[in-house]
């Protein structure tokens, strides 16, 4: 009995000392932890508590019962969502906008960076860059607002020009199903194509000039230099940005789309995010809309993982 007691006390002492030294290690850095505290608190409260809130998607959330008190319904909301005709519409709208931005907007940023890179006159290059970066810093409300005052059928500059030149009727850019997607992509190009060149330009600036000299010695034309020197040197940057693009494939321009949506173009313009807002916050179907949002997050997450795997398959580094 007494030996047992002794051994128990011994282990107690042992754990106490190791705990004590670990505590002293932490204590040594107490100020650093204190500095970190507000930020850590932020991440927990605003980035991780919402993850916990996702269980709402599997419950029938009723505000007066609270999150824990609400009834557990499993995948009911998901089944309802997948069975709705809206599901395929949202899926199509989101995918098409993501696809267009990937195959139209993304290559445009690369091409613009390559063209800018060919300009040898630094002053002129700076001038062009200054102009094309500006729209990136304006809010989507301003971009949408300017699009609106230019395109409206009631005295918008572009429609007045169309009427003046063709003598025909004004084009309903803002309230038509055909013009919605082109409009969104054009706005995206206007706002961010210039800004999108920055990372490529930085990568292009880092290309070893000796490679170009060697290529020229071998009699390579500028096109061949582009193909054999320039593009291979920015390949990994292109791949990384492509992965990041795929990751945000589904949450493409929520603020932007929300501003351009109206009753007439909703059938082509409604995407997962705007649907979550409308059904969740405006109609109060919290659990159902959380399920829709969760579905979108999971698909987005899978897309990043897949894109990253693909990049590694092609011998690139990937993002993690």
């Amino acid at each position: 009995m007494s030996t047992m007691n002794v051994s128990v006390t011994k282990t107690n002492v042992k754990t106490a000392t190791s705990r004590g030294s670990r505590f002293r290690g932490l204590w040594k850095y107490r100020w650093l932890y204190a500095f970190m505290l507000p930020g850590l608190l932020y991440f927990i409260l605003f980035r991780y508590v919402p993850l916990w809130g996702l269980i709402m998607a599997f419950k029938n959330y009723q505000p007066h019962l609270g999150l824990m008190g609400s009834e557990w319904v499993g995948f009911k909301h998901f089944e309802r969502f997948f069975g709705m005709p809206e599901f395929w519409q949202l899926f199509r709208n989101t995918m098409l906008l993501g696809l267009y931005s990937t195959v139209i907007y993304f290559p445009i940023t690369i091409i613009m960076a390559l063209l800018l890179n060919e300009i040898r006159n630094e002053m002129y290059k700076r001038f062009v860059q200054t102009l094309v970066y500006v729209p990136h810093f304006l809010s989507w409300v301003v971009i949408a607002g300017i699009s609106y005052v230019l395109l409206t059928t009631e005295g918008g500059l572009i429609n007045e020009a169309i009427k003046g030149m063709t003598g025909g009727a004004a084009v309903e850019f803002l309230t038509s199903t055909e013009w919605f997607r082109p409009l969104i992509i054009l706005q995206l190009i206007w706002k961010d194509a210039g800004w999108g060149t920055i990372i490529f330009l930085a990568a292009l600036a880092g290309v070893n000039t000796q490679l170009y000299e060697a290529a020229r010695m071998d009699g390579a034309s500028r096109i061949r230099q582009l193909w054999h020197v320039t593009l291979p040197s920015i390949r990994s940057v292109i791949v990384i940005l492509f992965i990041l693009r795929l990751g945000s494939f589904l949450d493409l321009g929520f603020e932007q789309i929300f501003l351009m949506l109206n009753a007439i173009n909703r059938e082509v313009g409604e995407v997962f995010d705007t649907y979550v807002y409308r059904v969740g916050l405006q109609q109060g179907q919290f659990s159902y809309s959380t399920a829709v949002g969760l579905f979108k997050s999971v698909v987005g997450f899978i897309l990043v993982i897949l894109a990253n795997k693909l990049a590694k398959l092609f011998g690139e580094e990937g993002i993690y």
Partner: protein
């Protein structure tokens, strides 16, 4: 660079210069048009006689003036809080020996890949009693994971021998931060401060989601109402029951100009910094 520029090569250069110049102008001209029209007397398509009436009108409108006040307030306070929180956390995470550092980094990185989404975030704000308070425009976006990581990389590059020697001399952690690290990082801090400020000034969706009282709306929300909602019921996703008056093109343009002006003022400073910021970010991906 060009030892023997061929004819074709020279032709390409001319076309390229012309083309990029046109692209630049095409992206910038809409703003010029908006500015010109905002000073125009009539709502014609082309700017006519010069006037300040549109500006007098919008500055005599209480809701607009108030919204500018709200935006200035949240931008100043919000940027200060964001920058302070981000810098403190980034500094701590720049210590490679700090126990738990990699775990916290992983936690931060994960938030970039997977988010709880709109509804759960709304409930967090609601349960913290921030609904209809201007805090909801500053706190939910307090720290950007991306800026945090870039700033941490920046702090890592501050010579640690300086820090070590100061500590050997008995300097307090707070002294090290305030006297050595922050002064050395002023350009980076200025850059991220500007980025935060632009982000807060430009946000509108949080305000639509969280703020119900019109007197607490930032200028972007008012801008949306005047330019997009007041025009024949476009943009039906607005708050119901808003009564919106009709505004002429000139007034809309003036509102766009005023709400964009602060950005244009800081743009030269932004331009000085952002290439560096974007570059730093791209290194780690």
């Amino acid at each position: 660079m060009h030892t023997h520029p061929t004819k074709l090569s020279r032709l390409f250069d001319s076309v390229n210069h012309l083309f990029l110049g046109l692209v630049g102008l095409a992206m910038f001209l809409p703003f010029v048009y908006v500015v010109l029209t905002s000073f125009s007397t009539q709502s014609t398509v082309w700017p006519t006689e010069f006037t300040l009436d549109t500006y007098k009108y919008i500055f005599s409108t209480a809701t607009f003036v108030k919204s500018i006040g709200v935006s200035v307030y949240i931008t100043l306070i919000g940027t200060t809080l964001s920058l302070l929180t981000t810098a403190l956390m980034a500094y701590s995470l720049s210590y490679k020996v700090l126990p738990g550092r990699s775990g916290i980094m992983l936690m931060v990185l994960f938030t970039m890949l997977f988010q709880g989404g709109l509804i759960p975030s709304y409930f967090v704000v609601k349960n913290l009693h921030m609904l209809d308070s201007t805090w909801s425009l500053m706190i939910p976006g307090l720290v950007s994971a991306f800026y945090l990581i870039v700033l941490r990389d920046f702090f890592t590059s501050v010579p640690h021998e300086l820090i070590e020697s100061a500590k050997i001399d008995g300097a307090h952690e707070l002294t090290v931060l305030l006297r050595i690290v922050l002064p050395l990082s002023l350009p980076a801090l200025a850059a991220f401060g500007l980025f935060y400020a632009v982000g807060i000034w430009n946000q509108y969706f949080n305000a639509i989601m969280y703020i119900n009282s019109p007197e607490k709306w930032p200028v972007q929300v008012i801008l949306r109402q005047i330019v997009l909602l007041a025009s024949g019921g476009l943009g039906d996703s607005g708050n119901s029951g808003e009564s919106v008056a009709y505004y002429g093109q000139g007034v809309k343009m003036a509102v766009i100009v005023v709400s964009t002006l602060p950005i244009m003022i800081v743009y030269p400073f932004l331009q000085k910094h952002f290439a560096k910021g974007a570059l730093l970010g791209s290194v780690k991906g």
